[in-house]
Every structure is written in structure tokens, then in C-alpha cells.
């Protein structure tokens, strides 16, 4: 017979029962605590811990994407990439200043070949620049160094050896200013809308074309998402995203013309390409007047942008920005604002005719000088040109003719000269696809009177200012590019082209993805008769007897229209200017050249323009200096 167990239990004392109850109570309490804790961890905070567990196991390794190449209009490489191995200190693992870091840097000394002090300086400099980025100690190390460091992870904690893509410029100084530099995105840029979606550590364009077309050139960094175990060992690779090289940017620039321009500036302008004390400066721009395609653009002195591929020594950077060396980093074609001398007369001529101040055939006597108010204005060398109308005035560059126009247009029709200058694109940016562009200045009564009221100048506007402006002297500031655009506008009969260097965005195989075709900036109504008078005058200037640049283009064999200019600069010798237009069915071109301290326009700028045009049309190159001593 089955008995119940309880029946057979020996009786226990009440004291023992109490003690067992206490033990049971303790057990109950302990289990309750553990259960409650488990509930809290797993049910109430489970999501938090799950996230932590996921973070634990995944490391994203970013594979930087090479930036897109930049090509000239014929497909010649202007900028590409080269692979370099860099020794870096990882941002999160750089030991704080102290003995640990000093020891690490001492161990690194023989590896990277820098003294610890030098490395400390480099760390400080780069951390100031980009606080949360890796600090590059040395680039272009050999594979042996890479292996040495990688095999000694324990000896070099926080030291990474990464493959980086460096921009490479095979043509060195050629068009160096237009490309701009690249660098790791800064904290401020990370917040900017144009860099939306860009991750920290990405290399972005910091200036020039690299900046403007960054969106295309940047590419997509790849990511290798690896699963790591507790020791940081790779235990698995998730689907990896390959880095995608940036798009290729094809420029309207013509490499041969660009090279010819550089040689011309050196040959005709006497400008050394790089370095030298107190370099003279200069610039040239060549554009297609129909659509604003920039065929050539050079600024001198130039520099080798390959310098920027590596961390730059502060002293070198300082030198590149110094006036003493001619500030080679400045793109004088778009950011060098100067008085333009007589090349401005085209603007004055158009304004005078359009405003009805004169007709194309109004004859003015040029006795060599003119008194306006109590100032006597002279022609260069006080040459008397006699009775001249518009065409002749442009041919011989009669200052008196244009002085008179400046005088007559002063204060009428709401600053008619200034208005036309502005319409043609002076005193405002042209909208070229470079961030570094200056708008220059058209001096006007309102501008000077305001300065006078603010006591920043000694006198208010006077008629003399307008007279000076009429011949491109005085306070006028314009860039070579603006001048090229203004001439193109007249050539086009009113269409103001938007200059642009970018031509096509292409994929790696050169297939067109997107055309860069900025629409004309605006249209200016220009009477065809007035335009014709100006074109005739410019053509005669470059070909007819007495033309200011006729001797320069003697024997050139093609129609050239051109205007010399000689800007008087305070405290230095004259600046030489020339703007040329070579009409052509297929490839018309406008070239603007300026040479600081180059003397008369016919002396250095015009010969340089001839050399550039020779290249463009395949004509035998010949340096011909003109004798015309005109402003």
C-alpha cells in the first residue's frame, strides 16, 4: 500500500524548523534579487545592451575612394592620383601628452625618420587643423616600413599604416592655381550642406576645381565592415562596398595652349615660372567667346602643386603666400584685379556710342593733350594724332579722344560709362567655376563720395576720375578674365558668356555623364553698327599702319583684332595688357594677357598673345615685340 511521505517524516524540533525557514527565506530573497536583476537587464534594458553587443563586434574600415582624374579637352591627364603608404597616429588612440607618448615617438623615430620634437609639432599642427582626424607622421614610406610597423602592433600602439591616395600633377606648374588643393574634411565643412553625406575623414576639395566639382570628383569611399572578436581579430567580413572612384572631369582647357601660354609668359613677359626673389606677376586667359569655354588660364609666378600632396612645411606655405615671392598661390587670371589701361577703351567706346555721346563717325581733334578742369591730360609721349574718329582712335589708341568721352559722359544718364562697364561684366564676378574670383571695382561718383564721407579718401568724385576711367587708369580694378568676357560680349553682339573650365563629367571610360554648359550670364543690347565700328578699330589696331599692335602681328597670316593697354601703377613700372580676338568659323578665341611691370602693351603682353594664338592656329611661333608706346 502506498503511503504518503509526510506520514513517515520524523518530527523536527520547532527551533530547527525556524532555522530552516530562515534558510528558505534567504534563498527566496536571493532568487528574487537575481530574477529582478535579470528582468531589468534583459527585458527592460535589453535594447540598450543589444546595441552595445552589436557595436562590440563590428568595425567599419573605410577604404578611401580615389578622386576622379582631371583631363584637358583632348583627354590629357592634368591631375590624377598616386598611391602612397602613410604612417599615421590613429585619432582615437594617440596617447595623451606624457611619458607614454614620448616613448612611442622615440620608438617611431627610426621608423619615420623624424625627431620626437618634430613629430610633436606635427601632431599639434594637424590636431589644430582637424581635431578628430588621424595624424599623418610620414607619407610615402616603403613597404618594408609598413610591414615593420604592422608586425609590431604592440610596440606601436595606435600607429596605423594606411594607403592613401595623393593627388598628382604630372605637369607641375602648369595651370597650378586652378586645381586647388584637397584635404580631409574639416569639422565646419562636415556641417555644410554641400558636403552632406560625406563622412569624417573623407578627402574633399578645398579650393579651385577640386572644390567646385568636388561632388563629382569625390567618389564613394568603400567600406569593409568586419566582424572582430574581443582581441580585435578579424572573424568575418560582411558584404563589402568597393570604393568607387570619383567621376572624371574633362576641362575645356587645352594642354598645348596652356603650355604655350606658360612659355609665352616666360619668353615675352620675362616672367620666371617659379621662385626667385620679387617675382613679377602676370596672367593670361584664353576663352571661346561663343560659350565661355576657358581654353587656357595661367597665373604667374606659379608653383608645383605636388608640394601639397604631402604635409607642407609651414615655411614653404608662408613662402607660397608671400608678396616677396609674388604670391604664387593667387590665381591672377581671376583674382588679380588691376587697372587695365587702354584695353578698357572698348568699353568707353561702346558706352559713348550707345548713349549717343558720339556717333561712330564723330571726328575729334587730338592735339596730344587736353585740359579738363585745371588738369592737363596727355597722350603717351604727347603724340598728336590729329583728327580721329572712333575707328582711328582705337587703332592708334588716342587717349585724348577717350579723355574727351570720359569728360562728356561724366554725370550723364546715371553714370553711363560705369553702367556699360558693369553690363559688360566688370565690377562683378563672371561666374566662372572657380571659388577664387574677385569682382574688381568700377570707380563711380557714389563709390568715391561715400569713401570721402567716411574720410577714407582726400577728395570727392571729380570729372578727372571719369576721364581716367575712360582710358582704364585710376581706381579701376578688373581681372584678365573679366576683360576677356567683356570683349567676348562685344564680339557676340551682346551675349555675355559665362566662362567655365569644366566641360564634361565623364565616367572612368570617358563616357559622358553630364555636360557643363552654363547659360549666358545675360544679354546686353548692342547696336550692330557700333559693334562694327569697334571691331573695325580693333582689327586696324592689330593690322593697319599706325595700329598699336600692327607690328606685333605683322606676318601672322590671320585676322586678329586686338587692343593694347598700359596700366600706370603707383610705385611700380607700367603693367602691360593685351586683349586679342582671332575670329574663326570653328575655333574663335579671345586672349587676354597682362604682365605686371611689363611696360607698354605692345612690348610684352601683345607678343605673348601672338605666341598663344600661334599655338591655337598652328602658326609658326615668333616673338615679335611691338614698338608702340601707347597707354
Amino acid at each position: 500500500m502506498l503511503q504518503l511521505q509526510e506520514d513517515r517524516r520524523p518530527p523536527i524540533t520547532p527551533q530547527l524548523a525556524l532555522r530552516v525557514a530562515i534558510l528558505a527565506g534567504v534563498a527566496l530573497a536571493l532568487f528574487a534579487i537575481v530574477f529582478f536583476r535579470l528582468w531589468y537587464l534583459q527585458v527592460l534594458s535589453g535594447d540598450k545592451y543589444l546595441a552595445q553587443a552589436s557595436n562590440n563586434q563590428v568595425r567599419d574600415i573605410v577604404d578611401p575612394a580615389p578622386r576622379g582624374d582631371i583631363l584637358d579637352r583632348n583627354g590629357h591627364v592634368l591631375v590624377d592620383n598616386r598611391i602612397s603608404i602613410a604612417v599615421q597616429l590613429e585619432a582615437n588612440h594617440v596617447p595623451p601628452r606624457g611619458p607614454a607618448r614620448t616613448r612611442l615617438l622615440h620608438r617611431l623615430q627610426p621608423v619615420v625618420g623624424l625627431t620626437p620634437r618634430r613629430m610633436e609639432r606635427e601632431i599639434a599642427r594637424q590636431q589644430k587643423l582637424l581635431p578628430y582626424a588621424n595624424v599623418t607622421l610620414k607619407q610615402d614610406v616603403s613597404p618594408a616600413v609598413r610591414n615593420y610597423v604592422l608586425e609590431r602592433k604592440d610596440t606601436f600602439p595606435g600607429v596605423a599604416v594606411n594607403t592613401v591616395f595623393l593627388r598628382s600633377y604630372p605637369h607641375k606648374e602648369l595651370a597650378a592655381q586652378i586645381f586647388g588643393t584637397v584635404g580631409e574634411i574639416s569639422p565646419d565643412e562636415l556641417k555644410a550642406s554641400r558636403f552632406r553625406g560625406v563622412n569624417q575623414g573623407t578627402i574633399v576639395g578645398k579650393g579651385g576645381l577640386e572644390y567646385t566639382y568636388d561632388r563629382y570628383l569625390r567618389g564613394k569611399p568603400g567600406a569593409t565592415r568586419v566582424q572582430v572578436d574581443a582581441f580585435g581579430r578579424n572573424t568575418g567580413v560582411f558584404p563589402t562596398r568597393e570604393p568607387v572612384q570619383g567621376k572624371q572631369l574633362k576641362l575645356s582647357l587645352d594642354l598645348d595652349l596652356q603650355r604655350a601660354g606658360q612659355e609665352a609668359m616666360s619668353e615675352a613677359g620675362g616672367i620666371p615660372i617659379t621662385d626667385g626673389e620679387r617675382n613679377r606677376g602676370g596672367a593670361f586667359v584664353a576663352i571661346d567667346p561663343r560659350n565661355g569655354e576657358v581654353i587656357g588660364m595661367g597665373s604667374f609666378p606659379s608653383f608645383d602643386p605636388n608640394l601639397f600632396a604631402k604635409p607642407l612645411k609651414p615655411s614653404v606655405f608662408k613662402k607660397l603666400n608671400s608678396q616677396d615671392t609674388g604670391a604664387p598661390l593667387v590665381n591672377r587670371a581671376t583674382a588679380g584685379a588691376y587697372p587695365t589701361g587702354s584695353t578698357f577703351k572698348v568699353v568707353t567706346a561702346l558706352a559713348a556710342m550707345q548713349s549717343g555721346t558720339i556717333t561712330p563717325d564723330t571726328v575729334v581733334n587730338d592735339p596730344g593733350s587736353i585740359q579738363i578742369g585745371n588738369i592737363v591730360f596727355h597722350n603717351a609721349g604727347k603724340t598728336a594724332h590729329g583728327a580721329v574718329a572712333m575707328r582711328d582712335a582705337l587703332r592708334v589708341s588716342s587717349d585724348v579722344f577717350f579723355y574727351r568721352l570720359g569728360q562728356q559722359m561724366n554725370g550723364i544718364g546715371g553714370d553711363i560709362l560705369q553702367t556699360w562697364a558693369h553690363r559688360l561684366g566688370l565690377g562683378r564676378t563672371t561666374g566662372i567655376d572657380l571659388p577664387e574670383e574677385r569682382s574688381g571695382l568700377i570707380p563711380s561718383p557714389a563709390w568715391r563720395d561715400k569713401l570721402y564721407r567716411q574720410k577714407l579718401t582726400d577728395r570727392p568724385w571729380s570729372v578727372g576720375d571719369n576721364v581716367n576711367l575712360a582710358v582704364g587708369q585710376g581706381d579701376l580694378q578688373a581681372t584678365p578674365l573679366q576683360l576677356a568676357v567683356a570683349y567676348s560680349t562685344v564680339i557676340n553682339g551682346g551675349k555675355v558668356p559665362t566662362p567655365h573650365l569644366g566641360l564634361r563629367i565623364e565616367d572612368g571610360a570617358g563616357r559622358l555623364l553630364q555636360k557643363v554648359e552654363p547659360p549666358p550670364a545675360r544679354h546686353v543690347a548692342i547696336d550692330p553698327n557700333y559693334r562694327q565700328a569697334i571691331m573695325d578699330g580693333l582689327q586696324q589696331a592689330a593690322s593697319a599702319p599706325g595700329g598699336t599692335s600692327a607690328d606685333v602681328f605683322a606676318g601672322f597670316g590671320r585676322t586678329v583684332l586686338g587692343k593694347t593697354g598700359t596700366a600706370e601703377r603707383a610705385g611700380q613700372s607700367d603693367q602691360s595688357w593685351y586683349v586679342a580676338y582671332a575670329p574663326d568659323q570653328r575655333r574663335p578665341i579671345v586672349v587676354a594677357v597682362t604682365v605686371e611691370q611689363g611696360g607698354f602693351g605692345a612690348e610684352s603682353a601683345a607678343p605673348a598673345a601672338r605666341l598663344i594664338l600661334s599655338q591655337w592656329f598652328g602658326v609658326q611661333k615668333k616673338l615679335v615685340r611691338g614698338a608702340s608706346a601707347t597707354f
Partner: protein, 399 residues
């Protein structure tokens, strides 16, 4: 025909359960269930958690744990058939064996992570301090039973404490703080069950507090470090595990993340904390965190419930024991299991410091599994003996 065929085994079982000539079948089935359940859980958890631990043999730990469990179950069954009361006579021998083994391991044992706790035998590495827990319970209970009439003497309590503290100090020298704490808990539990007056415990608490203050504050101040720095770091790290996540608090943090990430039903094969070794010692001390991560709150609750069942049955057996010796042994075993479960699980969930106490039956390790199964065997023996005794009472005046 069908009815009689079905009835036959039932009849037999009834006879076996009630027949006085079959004492071995008087075991506690629920206690057996809890034991087997925990062993099964252990095998299952180890199978998934240690798959990648030993290259080329995914079942390295499972096979070994299975062998330990099999041997242990054999020992357990053997012990159920032994009258535990006879162990009382062997108390000096058992104590001598225990002390001898512990001293021997300190002298010639193999070193693992800075402590000498085990002998490397052919197949298993044998850890005497584990078996020592059980031996201590047996000797101590015998000692207390001998002096049961003088329990109110301070002398008795002091001597009992000395009996336990001597091996505890030896184990602390290995160093193995967790196990020596188990020894202390065991002696306190045995004294408590025996009925040592409350004032003795109060005095012991006071001495203990002074002792702890001395070890942690006074001794280091005069240049004597009783605890190793890592022990101190572990003991204090749990108070603020995030303070130094790479070192002392690291294990605790990872364990907590593992358990938390398990959520309600666990991450199964995606248990990255375990699989990618973020969870240290996941087959031994932190095996409960594996349960938490892979099987979630559900799995952890099942394991805890099995432990609760184990302890409930242990306490019940305590009350049933036919003599004081059995009750004391049961009390010691229950206290030991309770302490180990709470300290181990508490450690994995971040409410207790890290002290290297294995989770009974769950943690991988031959010595621990064998000792626990032998302890359960003795509990069963107490159960069996109590039933034999009550049967006997019905027929024979006295044993």
C-alpha cells in the same frame, strides 16, 4: 488483455517504492530531475558556446563535460546506496585528506593564470579545493555533532571556525578567494543549522568586519597585502564597472552586455558576445551569461528555476534527515549551493564582485561537477536513509 499489460509495470513500481528491501529507490525524484536538468542545460550551453574554442574539435568541452557528468552520476548513485552516517567515523581521515591535497596542490600543482589550484592528471585537471568543500562539510558536521551538547560554549564555535578557516586560509593562498569564501559560508551554515546561539554569530560578524577592515585598509597601509591587487580590483570593480572597462570591470561589463542583449528569448546562434569571445571564461565562470545571451530571460529563468528546485529539495531533505549529522550535512550542502549560485549569477549580472566561483553543475570543470554530484548523492543518501529509518520505525523499535 490490454488493461492487465498496462497495469503490470505500475504494480511493480508501487512495490518498489514501498518495499523496505529496496532502499536505493527511495531517492528524491525531483532532486534527481533538477540535477539531470542542470547537467543537460550545461551540455547544451557548452555545445553551442564552445564550438569554436578549440580549433578542430568543436565538441572538446562537451565531450569532457559529458564524461565528468557520467562519472559524477555514477558516484552520485553509489553514494545514494551508502549510509552517510558511517562517514562520521572517517572525519579525521577525511579532514587529513583534504588538508593534504590542498597543501600538495600549493606545493606542486600546476599554475593557471597566476594561481595554483589544480593537479594535472592524465585526463582531468583535479582541483582539490572543490572536493574540499564537500569534505569540509562532512568533517565539520561530524565535529559539530560530537559537541552538540556544548553548542552554547564559545569554545565549540571557535573550534568549528578554526576547522574551517584553516583550509580556507590555505585555499586563499592558492589564491582562490571564491572557494575560501565558500568554506566560510559552509561553517556558518552548519553552525546555524546546529543551533549555535545568535550572539556567537554576532561576535563572528564583528570579528569578520574588523578582519576585512584590516585586510583592505590597515594591512596595505603597513605594507602587507593580503589580497592580490587583481582581487581587490575585482572586488571593487563591480561597484563601478564602467570606470575601467578595459580591465577589472571589462569582464563584468561584457557579461552584462551579453545577458542584456539576450532579451526575452535569447539570440541563439547570433550570440556574438559569446561566439566572438567578448565574454571571458564563457564555459566556466561566466556560463550563466551564455545562457542569458543565447536563451534570454526565458532560458535564464529555467536554469534558475532548476536551481531553486535543487535548493528547495535540499532544504526539504534537511528537515527529513534521520539524525542531526544528516541535517547538518544537508544544511552545509544547501548553503554551499545557494552561495555559489547567488555569487556566480550575481557576478554575471553585475551585482556581485568577480570571485571565480563556478556555477554548480553548469560550469565546465571536472572537479566542480564531480563534487556537486557527490554532494547531491549525499543529499539523496540522507533522503534514502530517512525513509529507511521511518520504515524501520514502523517495524523495528530502533536502529
Amino acid at each position: 488483455m490490454e488493461a492487465s499489460a498496462a497495469r503490470t509495470p505500475i504494480h511493480r513500481r508501487v512495490e518498489e517504492a514501498t518495499g523496505p528491501s529496496r532502499p536505493s529507490l527511495g531517492i528524491d525524484p525531483l532532486l534527481l530531475l533538477a540535477t539531470l536538468g542542470l547537467l543537460a542545460c550545461s551540455i547544451a550551453v557548452l555545445a553551442s558556446a564552445t564550438k569554436d574554442d578549440v580549433a578542430g574539435s568543436p565538441y572538446y568541452y562537451v565531450i569532457r563535460q559529458g564524461v565528468y557528468a557520467a562519472i559524477g552520476l555514477g558516484l552520485m548513485i553509489g553514494l545514494t546506496r551508502v549510509d552517510y552516517t558511517r562517514l562520521r567515523e572517517l572525519k579525521y581521515g577525511l579532514y587529513g585528506v583534504m588538508i593534504g591535497l590542498i597543501v600538495l596542490v600549493i606545493a606542486v600543482g600546476s599554475t593557471a593564470r597566476g594561481s595554483r589550484r589544480s593537479f594535472d592528471l592524465a585526463f582531468i585537471s583535479f582541483q582539490p579545493s572543490e572536493i574540499g568543500k564537500l569534505l569540509l562539510i562532512l568533517c565539520l558536521s561530524a565535529f559539530v555533532v560530537d559537541r552538540v551538547r556544548r553548542l552554547r560554549d564559545r569554545d565549540t564555535t571557535a573550534r568549528a571556525m578554526l576547522v574551517a578557516l584553516f583550509p580556507a586560509m590555505l585555499v586563499l593562498l592558492q589564491p582562490d578567494l571564491g572557494t575560501s569564501l565558500v568554506y566560510v559560508v559552509v561553517v556558518l551554515a552548519v553552525l546555524f543549522v546546529a543551533g549555535t546561539p545568535g550572539r556567537h554569530f554576532a561576535a563572528l560578524a564583528a570579528i569578520g568586519a574588523v578582519g576585512i577592515a584590516f585586510t583592505l585598509v590597515a594591512a596595505p597601509a603597513i605594507g602587507v597585502d593580503v589580497l592580490k591587487p587583481y582581487q581587490k580590483a575585482r572586488l571593487t570593480a563591480f561597484l563601478n564597472p564602467s570606470a575601467d572597462p578595459a580591465n577589472a570591470g571589462y569582464q563584468q561589463n561584457q557579461s552584462r552586455i551579453a545577458i542584456g542583449a539576450g532579451q526575452k528569448t535569447g539570440r541563439g546562434d547570433h550570440a556574438t558576445q559569446t561566439r566572438l569571445n567578448f565574454l571571458p571564461e564563457h564555459h566556466t565562470d561566466f556560463v550563466f551569461a551564455v545562457v542569458g545571451e543565447e536563451y534570454g530571460f526565458l532560458g535564464a529563468s529555467i536554469v534558475l528555476s532548476l536551481f531553486a528546485l535543487l535548493i528547495w529539495r535540499g532544504l526539504r531533505i534537511l528537515t527529513m534527515a534521520k539524525n542531526l549529522y544528516g541535517a547538518l550535512i544537508a544544511g552545509g550542502i544547501v548553503a554551499m549551493l545557494m552561495f555559489q549560485v547567488f555569487v556566480n549569477v550575481g557576478m554575471t549580472v553585475g551585482i556581485m564582485p568577480i570571485t571565480g566561483v563556478p556555477l554548480p553543475l553548469m560550469s565546465y570543470g571536472g572537479s566542480s561537477v564531480l563534487m556537486t554530484l557527490m554532494a547531491v548523492g549525499i543529499l539523496q543518501s540522507i533522503h534514502v536513509q530517512s525513509r529507511i529509518a521511518s520504515h524501520a520505525k514502523g517495524r523495528v523499535p530502533s536502529l
